[in-house]
Symmetry: C2
């Protein structure tokens, strides 16, 4: 399926701007990035785009499940092209994230979900620190 079809299937009009972003993000490579990172890639590809449009598109892509947003206490939002359920190593010094595939972690015992709620996804974060 090409990117135009992917956008259509997600219910998004394949505009020029969304296609530029899809061409960068939906290439099958897993990565973590900020809106500014993406703007730099767009610029490098010979295109340009308003930062408002980049935020609009990232939000649409995320809400359609084409990308994810990572839980992170950094002040800048981090997005993730790996949409499979997976986990992360986090180097708190640098903010760098490394994927952990889902089958690398085995949660043996899980607490009971609070009354009236449903489990909506489990994320494991392993904080790591450079060895001295």
């Amino acid at each position: 399926m090409n990117n135009k079809e992917k956008l259509r299937k997600a219910g998004l009009r394949p505009t020029k701007q969304r296609m530029i972003i899809a061409d960068i993000l939906l290439d099958g490579i897993n990565r973590h990035f900020t809106a500014e990172n993406l703007q730099n890639e767009i610029n490098s590809s010979g295109n340009s785009m308003s930062i408002a449009t980049i935020y609009n598109c990232l939000k649409k892509f995320r809400n359609c499940g084409l990308i994810k947003q990572v839980e992170s206490s950094k002040d800048t939002a981090i997005f993730d092209t790996n949409i499979n359920q997976h986990h992360h190593f986090l180097d708190e010094e640098t903010g760098k994230l490394i994927d952990i595939e889902n089958d690398e972690v085995n949660l043996h015992k899980l607490p009971k979900i609070p009354q009236g709620y449903l489990n909506n996804g489990v994320e494991v974060l392993i904080k790591i620190k450079k060895q001295i």
Copy 2:
């Protein structure tokens, strides 16, 4: 150990402002809060404090290990008086966090820590959603 001693032990001068905050936060009750939440509590206690001082103190307290900061993709920092290793339920709709004690989770299989790094803490986040 009283709060003045706790601050001294943490290497912090027990100033009037830090004592006011310690009296609120270090009462042994586990809670999640923002800088603004804390300012409201300070006001309710009949005191007042510049928001810059509140941020300064929270950062110092966190760096000394008197409190923690939660990983959260919300735009407002969330702090935690529960400094034991523990986990969270997160209702993504409301942002509400609920503690999960460490022994309620059992990680059976963990991935190998990347070369040159040390494990610096594991956090499990269980996203939950209101049942319909």
